[in-house]
Protein backbone atom coordinates (compact mmCIF):
# COMPACT_ATOMS: atom_id res chain seq x y z
CA UNK A 1 0.00 0.00 0.00
CA UNK A 2 2.81 2.40 0.93
CA UNK A 3 4.49 1.53 -2.35
CA UNK A 4 1.30 2.32 -4.25
CA UNK A 5 0.98 5.68 -2.49
CA UNK A 6 4.57 6.70 -3.20
CA UNK A 7 4.19 5.68 -6.83
CA UNK A 8 0.90 7.56 -7.15
CA UNK A 9 2.44 10.66 -5.60
CA UNK A 10 5.24 10.45 -8.17
CA UNK A 11 2.74 10.07 -11.02
CA UNK A 12 0.81 13.08 -9.74
CA UNK A 13 3.96 15.21 -9.55
CA UNK A 14 4.92 14.17 -13.07
CA UNK A 15 1.53 15.30 -14.38
CA UNK A 16 1.56 18.56 -12.43
CA UNK A 17 5.06 19.49 -13.57
CA UNK A 18 4.31 18.94 -17.22
CA UNK A 19 3.28 22.13 -19.01
CA UNK A 20 1.53 20.33 -21.87
CA UNK A 21 -0.47 18.24 -19.44
CA UNK A 22 -1.52 21.33 -17.50
CA UNK A 23 -2.57 23.28 -20.55
CA UNK A 24 -4.46 20.56 -22.38
CA UNK A 25 -6.07 19.16 -19.27
CA UNK A 26 -7.01 22.26 -17.36
CA UNK A 27 -6.78 25.43 -19.45
CA UNK A 28 -8.15 23.97 -22.68
CA UNK A 29 -11.53 22.72 -21.38
CA UNK A 30 -12.28 26.13 -19.87
CA UNK A 31 -11.18 27.83 -23.07
CA UNK A 32 -13.57 25.57 -24.94
CA UNK A 33 -16.43 26.74 -22.74
CA UNK A 34 -15.53 30.38 -23.47
CA UNK A 35 -15.55 29.68 -27.21
CA UNK A 36 -18.92 27.93 -27.21
CA UNK A 37 -20.26 30.53 -24.81
CA UNK A 38 -19.20 33.30 -27.18
CA UNK A 39 -20.85 31.79 -30.27
CA UNK A 40 -23.98 30.24 -28.79
CA UNK A 41 -24.58 31.60 -25.34
CA UNK A 42 -28.34 30.86 -25.48
CA UNK A 43 -27.67 27.11 -25.87
CA UNK A 44 -25.25 26.68 -22.99
CA UNK A 45 -27.66 24.46 -21.06
CA UNK A 46 -27.53 22.00 -23.92
CA UNK A 47 -23.83 22.61 -24.63
CA UNK A 48 -22.33 22.26 -21.14
CA UNK A 49 -23.00 18.52 -20.77
CA UNK A 50 -21.92 18.19 -24.38
CA UNK A 51 -18.58 19.86 -23.62
CA UNK A 52 -18.14 17.66 -20.54
CA UNK A 53 -18.52 14.53 -22.65
CA UNK A 54 -16.49 15.73 -25.63
CA UNK A 55 -13.72 16.70 -23.23
CA UNK A 56 -13.93 13.32 -21.48
CA UNK A 57 -13.81 11.68 -24.90
CA UNK A 58 -10.67 13.46 -26.08
CA UNK A 59 -9.10 12.98 -22.68
CA UNK A 60 -9.90 9.26 -22.64
CA UNK A 61 -8.90 8.56 -26.23
CA UNK A 62 -5.81 10.77 -26.44
CA UNK A 63 -4.53 12.87 -23.51
CA UNK A 64 -4.86 10.27 -20.77
CA UNK A 65 -2.48 7.88 -22.52
CA UNK A 66 0.10 10.48 -23.60
CA UNK A 67 2.37 10.12 -20.59
CA UNK A 68 2.12 6.33 -20.58
CA UNK A 69 3.11 6.23 -24.26
CA UNK A 70 5.97 8.60 -23.61
CA UNK A 71 7.21 6.39 -20.77
CA UNK A 72 6.98 3.38 -23.05
CA UNK A 73 8.90 5.06 -25.84
CA UNK A 74 11.67 6.35 -23.58
CA UNK A 75 12.19 2.91 -21.98
CA UNK A 76 10.91 4.16 -18.63
CA UNK A 77 8.39 1.33 -18.57
CA UNK A 78 11.11 -1.20 -19.22
CA UNK A 79 13.04 0.12 -16.25
CA UNK A 80 9.89 -0.19 -14.13
CA UNK A 81 9.34 -3.71 -15.43
CA UNK A 82 12.76 -4.61 -14.05
CA UNK A 83 11.53 -3.86 -10.52
CA UNK A 84 9.25 -6.25 -8.60
CA UNK A 85 6.33 -3.80 -9.01
CA UNK A 86 3.33 -5.74 -10.37
CA UNK A 87 2.02 -4.37 -13.67
CA UNK A 88 -1.42 -3.95 -12.11
CA UNK A 89 -0.06 -1.49 -9.55
CA UNK A 90 1.56 0.62 -12.23
CA UNK A 91 -1.54 0.72 -14.41
CA UNK A 92 -3.80 1.21 -11.37
CA UNK A 93 -1.76 4.12 -10.09
CA UNK A 94 -1.65 5.74 -13.51
CA UNK A 95 -5.39 5.29 -14.02
CA UNK A 96 -6.19 6.70 -10.60
CA UNK A 97 -4.24 9.89 -11.29
CA UNK A 98 -5.87 10.25 -14.69
CA UNK A 99 -9.39 9.62 -13.39
CA UNK A 100 -8.85 12.37 -10.83
CA UNK A 101 -7.66 14.69 -13.62
CA UNK A 102 -10.70 13.78 -15.73
CA UNK A 103 -13.07 14.51 -12.83
CA UNK A 104 -11.31 17.83 -12.15
CA UNK A 105 -11.71 18.82 -15.79
CA UNK A 106 -15.43 18.12 -15.68
CA UNK A 107 -15.68 20.12 -12.46
CA UNK A 108 -13.99 23.10 -14.14
CA UNK A 109 -16.42 22.88 -17.05
CA UNK A 110 -19.45 22.61 -14.77
CA UNK A 111 -18.22 25.53 -12.66
CA UNK A 112 -17.66 27.66 -15.76
CA UNK A 113 -21.14 26.77 -17.06
CA UNK A 114 -22.85 27.48 -13.74
CA UNK A 115 -21.03 30.68 -12.90
CA UNK A 116 -20.72 32.31 -16.33
CA UNK A 117 -23.62 30.92 -18.30
CA UNK A 118 -26.18 30.27 -15.57
CA UNK A 119 -26.49 26.56 -16.33
CA UNK A 120 -28.89 25.32 -13.64
CA UNK A 121 -27.13 22.77 -11.46
CA UNK A 122 -28.09 21.54 -8.03
CA UNK A 123 -26.64 19.23 -5.43
CA UNK A 124 -28.99 16.50 -6.65
CA UNK A 125 -28.00 16.95 -10.30
CA UNK A 126 -24.30 16.91 -9.46
CA UNK A 127 -24.67 13.82 -7.32
CA UNK A 128 -26.21 12.00 -10.24
CA UNK A 129 -23.98 13.51 -12.95
CA UNK A 130 -20.60 12.59 -11.48
CA UNK A 131 -21.13 8.80 -11.56
CA UNK A 132 -22.26 9.13 -15.20
CA UNK A 133 -19.16 11.19 -16.04
CA UNK A 134 -16.97 8.63 -14.26
CA UNK A 135 -18.54 5.75 -16.18
CA UNK A 136 -17.95 7.60 -19.45
CA UNK A 137 -14.35 8.42 -18.54
CA UNK A 138 -13.59 4.78 -17.73
CA UNK A 139 -15.06 3.55 -21.00
CA UNK A 140 -13.25 6.20 -23.05
CA UNK A 141 -9.93 5.54 -21.29
CA UNK A 142 -10.30 1.83 -21.97
CA UNK A 143 -10.88 2.59 -25.66
CA UNK A 144 -7.77 4.81 -25.57
CA UNK A 145 -5.90 1.89 -24.01
CA UNK A 146 -6.71 -0.26 -27.05
CA UNK A 147 -5.25 2.37 -29.35
CA UNK A 148 -2.07 2.70 -27.24
CA UNK A 149 -1.56 -1.05 -27.20
CA UNK A 150 -2.29 -1.61 -30.87
CA UNK A 151 -0.14 1.17 -32.27
CA UNK A 152 3.65 1.28 -32.45
CA UNK A 153 4.35 4.99 -32.01
CA UNK A 154 2.76 7.62 -29.80
CA UNK A 155 2.31 9.94 -32.81
CA UNK A 156 0.19 7.34 -34.57
CA UNK A 157 -1.79 6.70 -31.38
CA UNK A 158 -2.76 10.33 -30.99
CA UNK A 159 -3.61 10.61 -34.71
CA UNK A 160 -5.97 7.64 -34.49
CA UNK A 161 -7.37 8.85 -31.18
CA UNK A 162 -8.05 12.32 -32.62
CA UNK A 163 -9.76 10.85 -35.67
CA UNK A 164 -12.07 8.72 -33.58
CA UNK A 165 -12.67 11.65 -31.26
CA UNK A 166 -13.64 14.08 -34.02
CA UNK A 167 -15.89 11.55 -35.72
CA UNK A 168 -17.75 10.72 -32.53
CA UNK A 169 -17.86 14.30 -31.27
CA UNK A 170 -19.84 15.63 -34.23
CA UNK A 171 -22.41 12.85 -34.34
CA UNK A 172 -22.96 11.95 -30.69
CA UNK A 173 -25.44 14.71 -29.75
CA UNK A 174 -22.79 16.76 -27.96
CA UNK A 175 -22.89 19.94 -30.02
CA UNK A 176 -25.36 19.06 -32.78
CA UNK A 177 -28.70 17.44 -31.90
CA UNK A 178 -29.24 13.99 -33.34
CA UNK A 179 -32.10 15.07 -35.68
CA UNK A 180 -29.66 17.22 -37.65
CA UNK A 181 -27.99 14.05 -38.91
CA UNK A 182 -29.00 12.05 -41.98
CA UNK A 183 -31.56 9.32 -41.17
CA UNK A 184 -29.30 6.30 -41.53
CA UNK A 185 -26.73 7.85 -39.19
CA UNK A 186 -29.45 8.58 -36.62
CA UNK A 187 -30.03 4.83 -36.47
CA UNK A 188 -26.36 3.98 -36.00
CA UNK A 189 -25.19 6.64 -33.55
CA UNK A 190 -27.11 5.36 -30.50
CA UNK A 191 -25.01 2.18 -30.65
CA UNK A 192 -21.67 4.02 -30.61
CA UNK A 193 -19.89 4.54 -27.28
CA UNK A 194 -20.20 8.33 -26.85
CA UNK A 195 -23.94 8.81 -27.41
CA UNK A 196 -25.18 6.98 -24.30
CA UNK A 197 -22.75 8.96 -22.14
CA UNK A 198 -24.07 12.25 -23.57
CA UNK A 199 -27.66 11.27 -22.78
CA UNK A 200 -26.88 10.08 -19.26
CA UNK A 201 -24.80 13.12 -18.35
CA UNK A 202 -27.22 15.62 -19.87
CA UNK A 203 -30.36 14.41 -18.13
CA UNK A 204 -28.45 13.98 -14.87
CA UNK A 205 -26.94 17.44 -14.95
CA UNK A 206 -29.91 19.41 -16.26
CA UNK A 207 -32.86 17.50 -14.83
CA UNK A 208 -31.30 15.62 -11.94
CA UNK A 209 -32.90 12.53 -13.40
CA UNK A 210 -32.00 9.39 -15.28
CA UNK A 211 -32.54 9.42 -19.02
CA UNK A 212 -35.67 7.52 -20.15
CA UNK A 213 -33.49 4.88 -21.84
CA UNK A 214 -30.89 4.71 -19.08
CA UNK A 215 -30.95 0.92 -18.83
CA UNK A 216 -30.04 0.35 -22.46
CA UNK A 217 -27.46 3.20 -22.32
CA UNK A 218 -25.88 1.56 -19.32
CA UNK A 219 -25.81 -1.91 -20.84
CA UNK A 220 -24.15 -0.50 -23.94
CA UNK A 221 -21.65 1.52 -21.96
CA UNK A 222 -20.67 -1.34 -19.68
CA UNK A 223 -20.29 -3.62 -22.70
CA UNK A 224 -18.00 -1.15 -24.42
CA UNK A 225 -16.09 -0.34 -21.25
CA UNK A 226 -15.56 -3.89 -20.03
CA UNK A 227 -14.82 -5.21 -23.51
CA UNK A 228 -12.32 -2.46 -24.18
CA UNK A 229 -10.62 -2.97 -20.80
CA UNK A 230 -10.10 -6.66 -21.53
CA UNK A 231 -8.67 -5.94 -24.96
CA UNK A 232 -6.51 -3.08 -23.64
CA UNK A 233 -5.12 -5.32 -20.90
CA UNK A 234 -4.27 -7.98 -23.50
CA UNK A 235 -2.54 -5.40 -25.69
CA UNK A 236 -0.60 -3.70 -22.89
CA UNK A 237 3.11 -3.53 -23.76
CA UNK A 238 6.15 -2.52 -21.71
CA UNK A 239 8.18 -1.83 -24.80
CA UNK A 240 7.56 0.07 -28.01
CA UNK A 241 7.01 -2.12 -31.05
CA UNK A 242 10.24 -2.52 -33.00
Amino acid sequence: MKRFLILTKAMTLMHLRNGYVLFWNFAFPVLLMFIYGAIMSQFMDYMTPGVIVLNALSFGLVSSSTMMLEMREKSVLRRLQATPLPAGHLVGSYLLVNIIIGILQSTLIIATGALLYKVPVSAASLLLAYPMILAGLLAFMALGGIISGAVAKSGAASAIGMTVYFSLMFISDMIFPLDMLPGWLQNVVPYLPAYPVTQLVRSALLDASLDANWVSHFVLLVTYGAGAMLIAAKLFRWEPKA
Binding site: A10, M14, M71, K74, S75, V76, R79, A82, P84
Partner: protein
Protein backbone atom coordinates in the same frame (compact mmCIF):
# COMPACT_ATOMS: atom_id res chain seq x y z
CA UNK B 1 34.01 -22.63 -3.14
CA UNK B 2 32.20 -19.35 -2.82
CA UNK B 3 28.49 -18.93 -3.28
CA UNK B 4 27.07 -18.76 -6.80
CA UNK B 5 25.06 -15.57 -7.25
CA UNK B 6 24.17 -15.87 -10.93
CA UNK B 7 23.74 -19.14 -12.74
CA UNK B 8 22.89 -19.16 -16.44
CA UNK B 9 22.31 -22.60 -17.89
CA UNK B 10 22.10 -23.45 -21.56
CA UNK B 11 20.39 -20.15 -22.36
CA UNK B 12 19.01 -19.62 -25.85
CA UNK B 13 17.14 -16.39 -26.55
CA UNK B 14 15.58 -15.03 -29.72
CA UNK B 15 13.73 -12.03 -31.11
CA UNK B 16 11.35 -13.62 -33.55
CA UNK B 17 13.51 -15.55 -35.97
CA UNK B 18 16.75 -13.85 -34.89
CA UNK B 19 18.71 -15.93 -32.38
CA UNK B 20 20.45 -13.46 -30.08
CA UNK B 21 21.94 -15.98 -27.64
CA UNK B 22 22.82 -19.55 -28.37
CA UNK B 23 23.46 -22.04 -25.55
CA UNK B 24 25.06 -19.67 -23.06
CA UNK B 25 26.40 -21.06 -19.78
CA UNK B 26 27.73 -18.78 -17.09
CA UNK B 27 28.19 -18.64 -13.32
CA UNK B 28 29.14 -15.60 -11.30
CA UNK B 29 30.33 -16.02 -7.72
CA UNK B 30 29.63 -13.76 -4.77
CA UNK B 31 31.82 -10.68 -4.68
CA UNK B 32 33.05 -10.78 -8.26
CA UNK B 33 33.21 -7.95 -10.74
CA UNK B 34 32.35 -9.90 -13.82
CA UNK B 35 32.61 -8.37 -17.29
CA UNK B 36 30.73 -9.24 -20.45
CA UNK B 37 33.00 -8.05 -23.22
CA UNK B 38 31.87 -8.00 -26.81
CA UNK B 39 31.07 -5.77 -29.76
CA UNK B 40 27.69 -4.15 -30.41
CA UNK B 41 25.07 -6.73 -31.26
CA UNK B 42 26.97 -9.56 -29.55
CA UNK B 43 24.07 -10.25 -27.18
CA UNK B 44 25.26 -8.59 -23.95
CA UNK B 45 22.05 -6.65 -23.33
CA UNK B 46 19.95 -9.68 -24.21
CA UNK B 47 21.89 -11.79 -21.73
CA UNK B 48 21.28 -9.25 -18.97
CA UNK B 49 17.61 -8.93 -19.99
CA UNK B 50 17.21 -12.66 -19.43
CA UNK B 51 18.84 -12.40 -16.01
CA UNK B 52 16.60 -9.42 -15.17
CA UNK B 53 13.42 -11.22 -16.16
CA UNK B 54 12.77 -8.77 -18.98
CA UNK B 55 13.09 -11.32 -21.76
CA UNK B 56 11.69 -14.80 -21.86
CA UNK B 57 14.30 -17.33 -22.99
CA UNK B 58 13.50 -19.83 -25.68
CA UNK B 59 15.43 -22.44 -23.79
CA UNK B 60 17.47 -22.72 -20.62
CA UNK B 61 17.26 -21.36 -17.12
CA UNK B 62 18.60 -18.49 -15.06
CA UNK B 63 18.94 -18.37 -11.27
CA UNK B 64 19.88 -15.30 -9.26
CA UNK B 65 20.76 -15.74 -5.60
CA UNK B 66 19.43 -19.29 -5.93
CA UNK B 67 16.00 -18.13 -7.18
CA UNK B 68 14.72 -19.07 -10.61
CA UNK B 69 14.00 -16.03 -12.78
CA UNK B 70 11.61 -18.09 -14.89
CA UNK B 71 9.43 -19.47 -12.10
CA UNK B 72 9.67 -16.70 -9.48
CA UNK B 73 10.36 -13.48 -11.35
CA UNK B 74 9.27 -11.09 -8.61
CA UNK B 75 11.49 -12.66 -5.94
CA UNK B 76 14.38 -12.83 -8.40
CA UNK B 77 14.00 -9.15 -9.28
CA UNK B 78 14.25 -8.25 -5.59
CA UNK B 79 17.82 -9.59 -5.55
CA UNK B 80 18.95 -7.27 -8.28
CA UNK B 81 20.06 -3.69 -8.69
CA UNK B 82 19.74 -2.65 -12.28
CA UNK B 83 21.02 -0.04 -14.67
CA UNK B 84 19.79 -0.53 -18.21
CA UNK B 85 21.81 0.45 -21.25
CA UNK B 86 19.10 2.84 -22.34
CA UNK B 87 18.19 4.31 -19.01
CA UNK B 88 15.29 6.65 -18.78
CA UNK B 89 14.04 7.27 -15.28
CA UNK B 90 10.66 8.79 -14.47
CA UNK B 91 10.55 12.21 -16.09
CA UNK B 92 9.91 15.38 -14.16
CA UNK B 93 11.01 14.00 -10.81
CA UNK B 94 13.88 15.37 -8.77
CA UNK B 95 16.99 13.38 -7.96
CA UNK B 96 15.85 12.70 -4.39
CA UNK B 97 12.31 11.81 -5.47
CA UNK B 98 13.64 9.33 -8.00
CA UNK B 99 15.77 7.52 -5.47
CA UNK B 100 12.83 7.40 -3.05
CA UNK B 101 10.42 6.06 -5.68
CA UNK B 102 12.71 3.39 -7.09
CA UNK B 103 13.58 2.11 -3.61
CA UNK B 104 9.85 2.05 -2.80
CA UNK B 105 9.15 -0.06 -5.88
CA UNK B 106 11.23 -2.73 -4.11
CA UNK B 107 9.29 -2.00 -0.91
CA UNK B 108 12.36 -0.40 0.59
CA UNK B 109 11.39 2.89 2.23
CA UNK B 110 14.25 5.34 2.68
CA UNK B 111 14.24 8.26 5.10
CA UNK B 112 15.42 11.56 3.68
CA UNK B 113 18.64 11.10 5.70
CA UNK B 114 19.25 7.77 3.99
CA UNK B 115 18.51 9.32 0.62
CA UNK B 116 21.07 12.05 1.25
CA UNK B 117 23.65 9.51 2.39
CA UNK B 118 23.15 7.57 -0.81
CA UNK B 119 23.33 10.70 -2.97
CA UNK B 120 26.51 11.78 -1.17
CA UNK B 121 28.25 8.63 -2.35
CA UNK B 122 27.51 9.59 -5.92
CA UNK B 123 28.38 13.24 -5.44
CA UNK B 124 24.79 14.28 -6.07
CA UNK B 125 23.72 15.86 -2.78
CA UNK B 126 23.70 19.40 -4.13
CA UNK B 127 21.49 18.16 -6.95
CA UNK B 128 18.93 16.49 -4.70
CA UNK B 129 16.16 18.93 -5.65
CA UNK B 130 17.11 19.25 -9.31
CA UNK B 131 14.89 17.63 -11.92
CA UNK B 132 16.68 14.56 -13.25
CA UNK B 133 16.36 15.67 -16.86
CA UNK B 134 18.38 18.81 -16.10
CA UNK B 135 21.49 16.82 -15.06
CA UNK B 136 24.59 16.45 -17.21
CA UNK B 137 25.36 13.10 -18.85
CA UNK B 138 27.83 12.10 -16.17
CA UNK B 139 25.46 13.13 -13.38
CA UNK B 140 22.61 11.19 -14.97
CA UNK B 141 24.81 8.13 -15.17
CA UNK B 142 25.72 8.47 -11.50
CA UNK B 143 22.05 8.94 -10.68
CA UNK B 144 21.25 5.75 -12.60
CA UNK B 145 23.82 3.97 -10.41
CA UNK B 146 22.39 5.51 -7.23
CA UNK B 147 18.93 4.35 -8.31
CA UNK B 148 20.36 0.91 -9.12
CA UNK B 149 21.49 0.38 -5.53
CA UNK B 150 18.66 2.26 -3.81
CA UNK B 151 17.15 -1.10 -2.83
CA UNK B 152 20.51 -2.24 -1.38
CA UNK B 153 20.87 -5.24 -3.70
CA UNK B 154 23.55 -7.91 -3.37
CA UNK B 155 23.75 -8.28 -7.16
CA UNK B 156 24.22 -5.25 -9.40
CA UNK B 157 23.84 -5.47 -13.19
CA UNK B 158 25.25 -2.57 -15.19
CA UNK B 159 24.77 -2.37 -18.95
CA UNK B 160 27.50 -0.23 -20.50
CA UNK B 161 27.76 2.04 -17.48
CA UNK B 162 30.34 4.34 -19.09
CA UNK B 163 29.84 4.10 -22.83
CA UNK B 164 28.60 7.66 -23.39
CA UNK B 165 30.95 9.37 -20.92
CA UNK B 166 34.07 11.47 -21.30
CA UNK B 167 37.26 10.02 -19.73
CA UNK B 168 36.90 12.04 -16.54
CA UNK B 169 33.29 11.06 -15.88
CA UNK B 170 34.20 7.53 -16.84
CA UNK B 171 36.83 7.27 -14.12
CA UNK B 172 34.38 8.67 -11.58
CA UNK B 173 31.97 5.87 -12.47
CA UNK B 174 34.79 3.30 -12.24
CA UNK B 175 35.50 4.51 -8.71
CA UNK B 176 31.87 4.08 -7.75
CA UNK B 177 31.80 0.56 -9.20
CA UNK B 178 34.92 -0.35 -7.21
CA UNK B 179 33.24 0.99 -4.06
CA UNK B 180 30.19 -1.19 -4.67
CA UNK B 181 32.53 -4.12 -5.07
CA UNK B 182 34.37 -3.27 -1.84
CA UNK B 183 31.03 -3.49 -0.04
CA UNK B 184 30.83 -7.13 -1.04
CA UNK B 185 28.29 -6.75 -3.82
CA UNK B 186 28.46 -8.95 -6.88
CA UNK B 187 28.71 -6.89 -10.03
CA UNK B 188 28.16 -7.80 -13.66
CA UNK B 189 28.87 -5.15 -16.23
CA UNK B 190 28.89 -5.12 -19.99
CA UNK B 191 31.35 -3.18 -22.06
CA UNK B 192 32.87 -3.09 -25.48
CA UNK B 193 35.94 -1.40 -24.08
CA UNK B 194 38.87 -3.66 -23.47
CA UNK B 195 40.44 -1.00 -21.28
CA UNK B 196 37.38 -0.93 -19.03
CA UNK B 197 37.22 -4.71 -18.80
CA UNK B 198 40.90 -4.87 -17.80
CA UNK B 199 40.60 -1.99 -15.34
CA UNK B 200 37.59 -3.30 -13.45
CA UNK B 201 36.88 -6.96 -13.93
CA UNK B 202 38.21 -9.93 -12.02
CA UNK B 203 36.77 -12.25 -14.65
CA UNK B 204 35.59 -11.69 -18.17
CA UNK B 205 33.35 -13.55 -20.56
CA UNK B 206 34.09 -12.77 -24.16
CA UNK B 207 30.85 -12.81 -26.04
CA UNK B 208 30.45 -12.76 -29.79
CA UNK B 209 27.44 -13.47 -32.00
CA UNK B 210 25.36 -14.82 -29.15
CA UNK B 211 27.97 -17.19 -27.76
CA UNK B 212 30.55 -17.09 -25.01
CA UNK B 213 33.84 -17.86 -26.67
CA UNK B 214 36.02 -17.65 -23.55
CA UNK B 215 35.64 -16.94 -19.86
CA UNK B 216 38.46 -16.38 -17.40
CA UNK B 217 40.56 -13.76 -15.62
CA UNK B 218 42.04 -11.19 -18.02
CA UNK B 219 45.58 -12.45 -17.44
CA UNK B 220 44.60 -16.10 -17.89
CA UNK B 221 42.75 -15.27 -21.10
CA UNK B 222 45.89 -13.69 -22.45
CA UNK B 223 48.25 -16.34 -21.08
CA UNK B 224 46.17 -19.31 -22.24
CA UNK B 225 46.27 -18.30 -25.86
CA UNK B 226 50.04 -18.00 -25.69
CA UNK B 227 49.96 -14.86 -27.71
CA UNK B 228 53.29 -13.28 -28.42
CA UNK B 229 54.53 -9.90 -27.36
CA UNK B 230 55.77 -7.49 -29.97
CA UNK B 231 59.21 -5.97 -29.55
CA UNK B 232 59.90 -2.89 -31.64
CA UNK B 233 63.27 -1.28 -32.04
CA UNK B 234 65.17 0.94 -34.43
CA UNK B 235 68.18 -1.06 -35.49
CA UNK B 236 69.64 -2.47 -38.71
CA UNK B 237 70.22 -6.20 -38.49
CA UNK B 238 69.76 -9.00 -40.99
CA UNK B 239 66.29 -10.53 -40.52
CA UNK B 240 67.52 -14.12 -40.91
CA UNK B 241 69.81 -13.62 -37.88
CA UNK B 242 67.08 -11.99 -35.82
CA UNK B 243 64.76 -14.93 -36.53
CA UNK B 244 67.22 -17.37 -34.99
CA UNK B 245 67.29 -15.55 -31.65
CA UNK B 246 65.70 -17.42 -28.71
CA UNK B 247 61.89 -17.37 -28.40
CA UNK B 248 61.41 -15.38 -31.61
CA UNK B 249 58.52 -16.59 -33.72
CA UNK B 250 58.60 -13.94 -36.39
CA UNK B 251 60.45 -10.80 -37.40
CA UNK B 252 59.93 -8.11 -40.03
CA UNK B 253 60.81 -4.55 -40.90
CA UNK B 254 58.31 -1.77 -41.20
CA UNK B 255 60.38 1.13 -42.46
CA UNK B 256 63.26 1.68 -40.05
CA UNK B 257 61.57 -0.33 -37.32
CA UNK B 258 62.37 -3.89 -36.57
CA UNK B 259 59.32 -5.77 -35.27
CA UNK B 260 59.96 -9.01 -33.44
CA UNK B 261 57.26 -11.37 -32.21
CA UNK B 262 58.37 -13.19 -29.12
CA UNK B 263 56.96 -15.41 -26.44
CA UNK B 264 59.46 -14.10 -23.85
CA UNK B 265 60.44 -10.52 -24.63
CA UNK B 266 63.04 -10.22 -21.82
CA UNK B 267 65.03 -13.17 -23.18
CA UNK B 268 64.78 -11.98 -26.76
CA UNK B 269 65.76 -8.41 -25.90
CA UNK B 270 68.96 -9.55 -24.17
CA UNK B 271 69.88 -11.68 -27.16
CA UNK B 272 69.06 -8.81 -29.51
CA UNK B 273 71.42 -6.52 -27.60
CA UNK B 274 74.19 -9.10 -27.82
CA UNK B 275 73.63 -9.54 -31.53
CA UNK B 276 73.71 -5.77 -32.08
CA UNK B 277 76.91 -5.45 -30.05
CA UNK B 278 78.58 -8.23 -32.04
CA UNK B 279 77.53 -6.56 -35.29
CA UNK B 280 78.62 -3.12 -34.09
CA UNK B 281 75.14 -1.62 -34.33
CA UNK B 282 73.27 0.39 -31.80
CA UNK B 283 69.66 -0.15 -30.77
CA UNK B 284 67.37 2.83 -30.26
CA UNK B 285 63.69 3.41 -29.38
CA UNK B 286 62.92 0.02 -27.89
CA UNK B 287 59.19 -0.53 -27.38
CA UNK B 288 57.31 -3.50 -26.03
CA UNK B 289 53.68 -4.21 -26.79
CA UNK B 290 52.29 -7.00 -24.70
CA UNK B 291 49.25 -8.94 -25.85
CA UNK B 292 45.96 -7.57 -24.53
CA UNK B 293 42.30 -8.53 -24.59
CA UNK B 294 41.94 -6.96 -28.00
CA UNK B 295 44.36 -9.57 -29.36
CA UNK B 296 42.55 -12.31 -27.48
CA UNK B 297 39.29 -11.24 -29.04
CA UNK B 298 40.79 -11.12 -32.51
CA UNK B 299 42.36 -14.52 -32.11
CA UNK B 300 39.17 -16.13 -30.79
CA UNK B 301 36.64 -14.60 -33.15
CA UNK B 302 38.64 -13.77 -36.22
CA UNK B 303 37.52 -10.15 -36.14
CA UNK B 304 38.38 -7.05 -34.16
CA UNK B 305 36.48 -5.98 -31.06
CA UNK B 306 36.11 -2.41 -32.19
CA UNK B 307 35.15 -2.92 -35.82
CA UNK B 308 31.41 -3.04 -35.32
CA UNK B 309 31.23 0.00 -33.05
Amino acid sequence: MSQTMIDVRNLTAAYGSLTALNGVNLTVAKGEIFGLLGPNGAGKTTLLANVEGLHKPKQGEVHVGGISVQTDAAAAKRQLGIQLQKTALLDDLTVAELVEVYAALYEVYLTSKEIDALLARFDLVEKRNTLARRLSGGQQQRLALAVAIANDPQIVLLDEPTSALDPHARRAVWDVIRQLHDEGRTIVLTTHSMEEAEALCGRIAIIDRGQIVACDTPSALIANLQLNSMLKATVELPLEQVRTLPEVSNARYTGQHLEVETARPEVTLTALHELAARSGRSIRDVMLRQPNLEDVFLKLTGHALAESN
